[in-house]
Point group: D3
């Protein structure tokens, strides 16, 4: 019954999202015996203006 939330800075292609969803679902099946149908993966693509690291927005950094 896993629920996985993936937040990344910036955008992903649909192909990348497919691979992330497939990869995490298979990993949880292999490692922890979680049935694939029960695994939800929600991907959130966060604007670089809205993600801070080291006290600065990613969009401010070089």
């Amino acid at each position: 019954m896993p629920y996985v939330n993936v937040k990344v800075a910036g955008k992903l292609s649909k192909k990348q999202k497919e691979e992330i969803v497939e990869g995490i679902t298979k990993l949880l099946e292999k490692v922890a015996n979680k049935p694939p149908q029960a695994t939800y993966v929600v991907i959130e693509e966060i604007d670089r203006d809205n993600w801070g690291k080291g006290g600065k927005l990613l969009s401010e950094k070089k």
Copy 2:
């Protein structure tokens, strides 16, 4: 002091959001005696390209 986060795949109408917010707030008051003014409900509408189930994006499924 409840905080409730509702994530759904796809879009909701404003009417549906009103009913969800009202329904959850009343439920928490009735069941757990939480004062309505203290209940926050945040609804997030997730694109079907960003929600995976069973190892596939919802947008890939028939």
Copy 3:
């Protein structure tokens, strides 16, 4: 495919949790046509030392 996260300050009884899960699941079915089997509800009971409101911990308030 809804995923609902409910955070409350303090503890709930098992009976209250059952009613919250049942109530939210039925609400999402009625309002937004979400199939009950697809709805996950995760309840988190947060210690009053770990929840702040108005700039103070709930455990500091009278």
Copy 4:
């Protein structure tokens, strides 16, 4: 290694986001000795149609 998620109703300017990220990162360094480079702050600006309080959407209130 802190991860901080800030959800606000409505929009913030880039300047406000910079100040929030800088302020929270410095606070965690000062109070809890967390190295700034390890602190992530993710800001989410939630539409007032998607935030409920007191059983009503913020966009319904006067």
Copy 5:
């Protein structure tokens, strides 16, 4: 700069957690070129009394 939150019902062994963290971090590096040092994975083990599916707590089901 990914942040990944994994919620599972029930407990995991330390070995399982290691494999989940390693697997997700490598997947995000391979698929989306995210540097491993920037990837945080937080695992939350949720009591079966606190996870609802299909309108019932997992702990109520056979």
Copy 6:
């Protein structure tokens, strides 16, 4: 109406939690004019066995 979730690896003292809650609430008032009474801050202290960085659990690192 802000909701802030702070996840840290390891434990905080009650004094540290008070300072974090007070500091974030004041920051959001000063920077974004958010009324203190409307700001919720929820602090989650995550076991170092449950937090991964760079593909390893924090508890595995020297």
